[in-house]
Symmetry: C2
Subunit: 316 residues, 2 copies
Amino acid sequence: MFNRFIKVASDLVTTHDQIRAGFLSIALEKNRVSDPYVKNALAFKTMVQGTNDPEDFLNMPKIRPFLLTASGLSDKAMQHLRDNDQTAAIKELIEKFLKPAGENYVDEVIYRYLLIKGDAVGGVMRNRIGVIGQEKLIRAILSCINVRGINYSWMKNNKQHNWLYGENNDIDIEKEIKALHWMNKNGSRILIFNMKVPVVKKNIDICLFDGKSEEFNRGKIVQKINKAIMFGELKGGIDPAGADEHWKTANTALDRIRESFNKVNHPVMTSFVGAAIENSMAVEIFSQLQNKKLTNAANLTNSNQLTEYCNWLLDI
Amino acid sequence: MFNRFIKVASDLVTTHDQIRAGFLSIALEKNRVSDPYVKNALAFKTMVQGTNDPEDFLNMPKIRPFLLTASGLSDKAMQHLRDNDQTAAIKELIEKFLKPAGENYVDEVIYRYLLIKGDAVGGVMRNRIGVIGQEKLIRAILSCINVRGINYSWMKNNKQHNWLYGENNDIDIEKEIKALHWMNKNGSRILIFNMKVPVVKKNIDICLFDGKSEEFNRGKIVQKINKAIMFGELKGGIDPAGADEHWKTANTALDRIRESFNKVNHPVMTSFVGAAIENSMAVEIFSQLQNKKLTNAANLTNSNQLTEYCNWLLDI
DNA sequence: TATACTCGAGTGA
DNA sequence: GTCACTCGAGTAT
């Protein structure tokens, strides 16, 4: 059996309480992320004291980035635009919105800046939520390692590429772990997070290789097809409305992994860990587990399933 | 051959110019969508004139929705929270951010409201972009119909379910079309957009059925397995960074369609139309076209490919 | 540096 | 109510 705590498909489904908790923590974090933009707006308000007309903004090169945002351009959009597109956007902002606002033109430009940056805050948040999911998984793995008294080493998420000896008082190291190494009954194991795997030509969240610590070789182990053991997709988001959407993405990603490794005659195991699992996708996941398309799975918000998944990961 | 204008994979790739144009039109539209929120903020500012302290807000029930937003809660999040969660969020907003802001507490609450609503503006925009993509496809189909002098009828996107005779001066009807009907050499055809198909248990963007207009039967034709001809996924977004992400989603969606109809022994054709197509996914799409997993495809921003796709749709 | 990762803000059937 | 659609705001490798 793949996971003792997944006996029927519905065991995979996320509870309402977990969803509520997830959205609450998003709101808290969003307030922190918002802070600098509030400050920017206040600073802008000070900087443009003394102007009498929105046209005056055009003579203040320092506020161009602020105006570009206020004119509706995300940083992402700007990468695809030319300088004159951007200047045109600012002029349109002034003509269409700031001049009609009359004496309220300062509020108008600040309000528009904040609306556009609010979308940016959303983007930053989504990345954070993903990182937090990864940290939660790593923390769970470390807990299993510690409970079982397994010796391990870990590598930081920087360019040093040196293994650090795993201590028992390893508080908060999940925030800086790129890779883990340990031994099990089958041999030496290296687990890497978020790595581009050349055979697939794609990034993969969870990558398990057979290899001694020195075989990590500055990340080059990902090129050794024969060392690959298991790959997993991790989805840390809690939104039930996004659950099926992101499972569809993960499903294609996992298919690409299987196909790429089958093509080089080295089939690998695959797994899925998700925080937002709804009924209909749970049925698909469970069915893939039964027919062994998927080797293992867990709901990230279910500590039993997660522990079971981590122990399996440590043992294969 | 599937499409005369797709001879090699790279023919599918979106040009830089189209990407630029897409982001420019997003910025324009975003400014329009932002407008009401700017007005809300100005209205709030007026309403709270006369308050001296953020605590005063607690006695103004009318501004509770505004405060909820300012406290970091999206409308989506609120669906998953209880009343006391929401009240707690407002109290935290006041204690943690508004009181520390001192006499600037009104600006602070307005700025936070706008940042959170900015994320909402992003959400509204994404839905609009999707709708605009659908309208672009429908317009292209109508153009082909008109150029070829095909008689057609169409049904509005409402509960009436009556067929309207297609005129040649059909300006802007793409905005209200739910379904189209016409005849071709193979029989009577009904094309429905954005319908849940029971066999798949999922919504599908483009649904082509064999059926006389009366067989539409208030949408019940989607239950007639034998009437199904072709299903397509449409992705109207322009962002190249999202291209592979959304193609992965579409790919699983198309797989579900094929599997569901194969299971009931009625294989159907499938197709993909996308505005953001990058090289690597173009290779996958082209390969699926060659091995006939995918029956046809087009880049929504390439009018040759799109016209070819629409004519194919009218003829199958 | 090209490429593809993070996920929920909306919406509607 | 339930479910799953829209897509780009960021980010990183």
